[in-house]
Symmetry: C2
Subunit: 489 residues, 2 copies
């Protein structure tokens, strides 16, 4: 009680000052302030507020279905059958869809997707994942016991990082990530209180990895933390490059020499568009380098149902494969994932269909291949279209979109705009993207959200809008960039 007998206003238990300080440090640009403003603008448009555009076009996030990409019919048929097994009596469903559904249901407790699965994932799904990896990697064996199903790839990545974090001060775990990076990595490291170690990709050579740069960044980091892991995203997000086999070998040699745990984010493994480019999994290259490497280098690789030709983000399906993990640590990993009981079973079922898709001779094969090919072809066209149209704009230069789902063009921002942004305490490319959103309704993510070399500016734009809309979007970007440049010249 205060002296006048009135209780002082009771403060909150949980405030900005008393909450978890590591959570405060988390940033996630893909759903940051610009996207929040985009959602607001959409509401304003609905309420009839006049804008210089009719709709917000979200090119900020790799969300294929939201941009109109259609799901694979076969996958959805099996999911419907698994959801409501009465449909197994329906003659309109193809036999291969039914047999896949029966196989999945038989592996579920009580033959229901409503039962918890084993924490590591449904047995038969892990077996199918192992079979898929073996086929993909030319027969290199894969043990289902090394497969953990996850809630999207993000979940697996965070779980692995969590295992790796220890020490305090100069012995605190450091993790090398590419710059530009996908901000899940920086967010997870911030939350875990680990040290983020930046290595820069080389924009001049199509965002390639450079061993000298890895070495530089590692040596610098060793002065203040204990670097223990290196993360690679291939094909690249946000930068769209596809790594060469030679580059992957070099990275593996580097990890072996420097004793780093390798984390390979390979969720875009089917998204390769450029001539002469090919996806090589870290697992495959590791094993082809012989036992000196394949017996020792610790590797976790990640895949997901969210990207490639599937684009099934909402189901949060994914898996990770771990190689050469210490047996006791593996037991700890299994224990850790058991606390969350299991990844969502519909996502597990979907992952199963991705790794066990219709085969030649099965009734759904032709249609499956037609849909898959069409989706990937359209993505390849849009990758080409995007880089061409962006490169035609004076002041914008875009590296080839060899793979993944994004362009990450470099933009010239006039000095006056840079000054204005700095006065506002904003990153210059945030000012640029925010202005673009307000004037055109196009929602992009500023390069500063992913990290970039000092003094350079970029944005990330997905290639996902339907071709006709993508053209309009790119024309608007062009007009905006010209206007913005003129205004600040």
């Amino acid at each position: 009680m205060a002296e006048n007998g009135v209780a002082p206003p009771r403060g909150k238990v949980l405030t900005l000052d008393t909450m978890n300080p590591t959570v405060k440090k988390v940033e996630y640009a893909v759903r940051g302030p610009i996207v929040q403003r985009a959602v607001q603008i959409e509401k304003e448009l609905k309420e009839g507020v006049k804008k210089p555009f009719d709709e917000v076009i979200k090119a900020n996030i790799g969300d294929a279905h939201a941009m109109g990409q259609q799901p694979i019919t076969f996958f959805r048929q099996v999911l419907a059958l698994c959801s409501y097994p009465e449909l197994l009596n329906d003659n309109t469903f193809p036999e291969d869809a039914k047999s896949r559904a029966r196989r999945i249901l038989q592996s579920c407790g009580g033959s229901s997707m409503g039962a918890y699965s084993a924490s590591q994932g449904i047995d038969c799904v892990r077996q199918d994942v192992a079979g898929y990896i073996e086929r993909r990697d030319g027969g290199i064996p894969c043990d289902p016991d090394n497969i953990y199903l996850t809630t999207g790839a993000s979940d697996g990545i965070v779980t692995m990082l969590k295992l790796l974090v220890c020490g305090e001060g100069a012995t605190r775990t450091g993790v090398m990530i590419s710059i530009p990076q996908y901000p899940l990595y920086s967010a997870a490291l911030a939350e875990l209180g680990a040290v983020q170690i930046n290595y820069y990709l080389n924009e001049e050579t199509c965002w390639s990895m450079d061993i000298d740069e890895l070495q530089r960044s590692l040596e610098e980091a060793r002065r203040h933390c204990n670097p223990r892991a290196i993360c690679i995203i291939n094909p690249g997000n946000p930068t769209g490059q596809v790594q060469t086999r030679e580059c992957i070998e070099e990275v593996i040699r580097f990890a072996a020499k420097e004793r780093l745990f390798l984390m390979a984010d390979e969720v875009y493994q089917d998204n390769v568009y450029a001539d002469g480019c090919q996806f090589h999994s870290f697992k495959k290259v590791l094993f082809e380098m012989g036992p000196e490497y394949s017996d020792t280098v610790e590797l976790a690789s990640f895949h997901s149902t969210s990207k490639c030709y599937m684009g099934e983000c909402g189901f949060r399906g994914g898996y990770m494969e771990i190689i050469n993990m210490d047996t006791e640590v593996k037991a700890q990993l299994t224990k850790l994932v058991s606390v969350r009981l299991c990844p969502p079973v519909p996502g597990q079922a979907l992952m199963d269909l991705v790794v066990n898709s219709p085969q030649p001779g099965e009734p759904s094969y032709d249609n499956f291949m037609k849909e898959r090919t069409a989706t990937l072809n359209v993505l390849a066209e849009k990758a080409q279209l995007t880089q061409e149209m962006l490169n035609a704009v004076p002041g914008i230069s875009c590296s080839p979109v060899q793979g993944a789902m994004y362009s990450f063009p470099r933009i010239t921002i006039p000095e006056k705009a840079i000054k204005e942004a700095k006065a506002l305490g904003q990153a210059p490319d945030m000012l640029y993207c925010m202005r673009m959103l307000e004037e055109t309704g196009i929602c992009l993510v500023p390069g500063s959200g992913f990290g970039q070399k000092d003094g350079t500016y970029h944005f990330r734009m997905t290639i996902l809008p339907p071709t006709e809309k993508l053209k309009i979007l790119l024309d608007k970007v062009k007009a905006f960039h010209r206007r913005f440049t003129e205004q600040y010249s």
Copy 2:
């Protein structure tokens, strides 16, 4: 290189000694060593190994469908429609199922469950959750903006605990949890490096909460940490009690006086069986206590699709409602959940159906109510049966199973067995349960996995097996207990 020119064997980067020490401290009995042994035994049975039983009966986990409970037809119809919208043209599906599916799909990006939802969850689902809470709580308003959809309740609980953790040493966040507790809490606190503060439930009065005990535990804890939150599970897990309205009021007053953030785990809100018992939500009681409390006490309450009459654990659906949370902290919460993009959309859809189930006059209403009522009635019967049969065993005494899905009987373990267990470095009830598993195939969880008063022993057994199997199981428990007692007398 060693002196003989041969490289020394390269150690792993990640070992038990160099992994995250907080992860090592995590324990999760519900899927602990006894369950791992049960899985092994199942494999041995399949391989033809002779055992004194034909099958393993898992009564260790609240996994209703795995125990044969059937899903609600209406829910699964809508999920099938959402998965494969072609079925909207199928005349065998009822109109109300179709209209629910259309509503959900219209709220999904690109009308697909494959699109990411907003991080906080699909707008229309959050609105439906708010409507459900208002109806449940007699009209007390609920703002959809306070609803966060989650990946099961576990996800929400861990997220809230994560926000609350700060400080070091004597200022480190402490969180009060009941003993016995559901081990998600102890596991999450261990992982977050927060301090677990035990308050004991009173077994003599059907596991009720006692304010003196809360006070004692709080005061003791204040000597070495900063207690900031109290967690309550009602109806109780593993103890099956249903809290009285008066008790909830007392807890709220206690939280207000002691400035504790309230976390109410209410996932068993429909699982109330005992005469005279009723579920009261913390939200409702809080608001009925008037603005002195409802304007100040910070509350997060959790619900899920996994329990009640649904039992849809595999879909990992859930929500949390937050009350009186600081605006800036709420923004941080929204940012934090955005890093994982969104909860699984099929789980969100299912949550929507739970909170927006068929209404009188709709074609699916009668069948829905029939299925719902039948499931809850059977659970009530099994709760009764379980406590009666257990109480008929000399040396076992079981509090009334008023709600939830578990019995948590106290067992008398002979001194000789206790000594043997201690010599083996095992908890005596672990020895007991492990012996029961080996001899009868019944898989229970020892009380030590949930915490219990020193010198007392318990096990948790779900009431979920089908009635006939449950009887057999209880008979076997009885015979085993007699044998075990004789053997060690």
